[in-house]
């Protein structure tokens, strides 16, 4: 069964970059879905189960923090990996406490993303 991956970011190039890094990191046979804002992300994340959900924090319509809180409240079990350029230790701790699986700062390397994917797929097994 293919790994289901959701990528939410308002930047198309950022979504493409995450997808390419994920493929380089070993997710060759994954099925990727994309969301372009927070509302779209919440709708897609609740429409079917995703194994890994890469989510930008600062998105139009609904902020990533709110998307994460709503998913947790709904009992959605996707591993949510928050990716943001404006993460400090305080925000990181807050997101992890809220239920994020990992928090990654931009710019990240394909190797860093690969490590997170390995942890997420191991945790799913």
């Amino acid at each position: 069964m293919k790994t289901q991956v959701l990528i939410a970011d308002d930047s198309a190039i950022a979504r493409m970059f995450v997808k390419r890094c994920a493929e380089v990191a070993g997710l060759h046979d994954a099925e990727f879905s994309e969301a372009k804002d927070g509302a779209d992300a919440f709708e897609k994340a609740t429409s079917k189960p995703f194994d890994i959900f890469f989510m930008d924090l600062n998105m139009p319509k609904v902020h990533g923090r709110e998307v994460l809180a709503n998913l947790v409240a709904r009992g959605i079990r996707s591993r949510v990996v928050v990716i943001s350029s404006a993460v400090n230790e305080h925000v990181r701790a807050e997101l992890l406490q809220l239920g994020a699986f990992r928090v990654i700062s931009k710019p990240f390397s394909p190797a860093e993303l690969g490590e997170v994917i390995a942890s997420a797929t191991e945790a799913a097994a």
């Binding site: 930047s11 198309a12 190039i13 950022a14 493409m16 970059f17 390419r20 600062n58 943001s84 350029s85 404006a86 993460v87 400090n88 230790e89 305080h90 925000v91 700062s105 931009k106 710019p107 990240f108 390397s109």
Partner: protein, 143 residues
């Protein structure tokens, strides 16, 4: 070089290495050229400043083509170039803002926007084999 310039320089080099697979070497002061695509972004917290990035057309073509895996052409490539430059500015400003003060300081950014390169700003050049990138950091005055 000031503490802020060093942090910004690291953020610029890391961002271009990871997003555009370009190795940049910090160089000297430069004059922001008009024949470049330029984006700027405001940082509100933890310091009030403005970061601008200018990239010449040939280099932007190259990194956008590489970033999209050669899948975009025509209008789609133009959109990808603009999107890439905005994302680069956002990531550089975020990396700078989250490191320039103590860990845990609030970070707040504006939205990156396309604008014309301003030759009146202080620009610093970063060199690469494929071309150059100019970066400006201006702090808001206290008045």
């Amino acid at each position: 070089m000031s503490h802020e310039q060093t942090i910004l320089s690291d953020a610029v080099c890391e961002t271009f290495a990871n997003l555009a697979f370009l190795d940049l070497m910090p160089g000297d002061a430069s004059i922001g050229k008009r024949d470049a695509s330029c984006v700027a972004i405001d940082v509100f917290e933890p310091v009030a400043c403005r970061v601008a990035i200018a990239v010449p057309p040939a280099l932007l073509d190259e990194i956008a083509t590489s970033a999209t895996g050669g899948e975009c052409a025509g209008d789609d490539l133009e959109i990808a170039k603009r999107d890439l430059l905005l994302e680069v500015a956002n990531v550089i400003a975020g990396a700078f803002a989250s490191r320039v003060r103590e860990a845990g300081a609030p970070v707040e950014l504006g939205l990156p926007r396309v604008e014309a390169p301003d030759a009146n700003l202080s620009w610093r050049r970063f060199e690469t084999e494929e071309g150059w990138v100019d970066v400006s950091l201006e702090f808001e005055s206290a008045d």
